[in-house]
């Protein structure tokens, strides 16, 4: 099952998008806890696009949701300033200062986070969650 969302980089788009993705993740067989965690990872990645890639200015964001029998993959694209979240150093936890946890959430929740360096127009980030523990261990795509 695939679905494409074309969005404007505004914070008010996050909640309605979560509502649609929550339904799709449920249809993909994810139970409530995992669904909410995956939503959180997507949300954090989109918040980074809004804040860092576009600096709070409106721009285009695309969310490609791709659910298969072995994994769920979410691809996020934007045309903003280059921002590679995989290069953000891990925070020291517990963090006593506000902020700096978004990328930690993404890394903790998703099995694979891949930043596409070949994507020239802006940023493309792949968030992957495997449905079986075996595949997680193999780190297969």
């Amino acid at each position: 099952m695939q679905k494409r969302f074309e969005l404007v980089s505004k914070s008010e788009v996050l909640s309605p998008l979560r509502k649609e993705l929550r339904q799709l993740l449920g249809q993909g067989g994810w139970e409530k806890k995992s669904t909410e965690e995956i939503l959180l990872a997507i949300d954090e990645a989109l918040t980074n696009i809004i804040r860092h890639a576009y600096g709070g200015q409106p721009g285009a964001m695309v969310v490609l949701f791709d659910d298969g029998p072995e994994k769920t993959e979410i691809i996020l694209e934007d045309c903003g300033k280059k921002f590679d979240p995989t290069q953000v150093p891990p925070p020291e936890l517990p963090r006593h200062k506000p902020g700096g946890l978004g990328v930690h959430f993404i890394r903790t929740i998703m099995d694979r986070v891949v930043y596409d360096e070949a994507f020239k127009e802006g940023n493309r980030l792949h968030l992957i969650k495997f449905k079986s523990k075996k595949l997680k261990g193999e780190g297969a795509l």
Binding site: L40, D43, R95, P98
Partner: protein, 114 residues
């Protein structure tokens, strides 16, 4: 997100309903800033109605916690839903905050009765 602010004795209570994310957290930050600016001694945040929270929500509470700590105030978070508790756990912040399972217990901790 709906934020209802009430007062019981010297305890300021914020009851939140809805989703706490990058869009809604500035409103909560503003309310908490108002309270810390006037050095409210005891702040109780009831999270029973919050079914979603992201790192912006966490950051808002970390900031409020630091501000209240500076003037020896107290901030207690009560009635976390499973989803919200999970976010605190991923951030490894459960031990930093004062967290109460119920509002009644939070009131008791703060030296009042609900």
């Amino acid at each position: 997100m709906k934020i209802q602010m009430t007062c019981q004795g010297d305890i300021h209570i914020l009851e939140l309903v809805g989703e706490l994310d990058y869009h809604s957290s500035p409103e909560l930050r503003e309310k908490l800033n108002e309270l810390s600016a006037k050095q409210a001694p005891k702040i109780l945040v009831n999270l029973k109605g919050v079914d979603y929270m992201d790192s912006s929500g966490i950051a808002t509470f970390v900031e409020a916690f630091q501000k209240t700590k500076r003037y020896q105030g107290r901030l207690i978070l009560a009635e976390l839903t499973d989803t919200v508790r999970g976010v605190f756990e991923i951030a490894k912040l459960e031990s930093i905050f004062e967290i109460s399972p119920t509002v009644d217990e939070a009131f008791t901790r703060l030296g009042a009765k609900a």
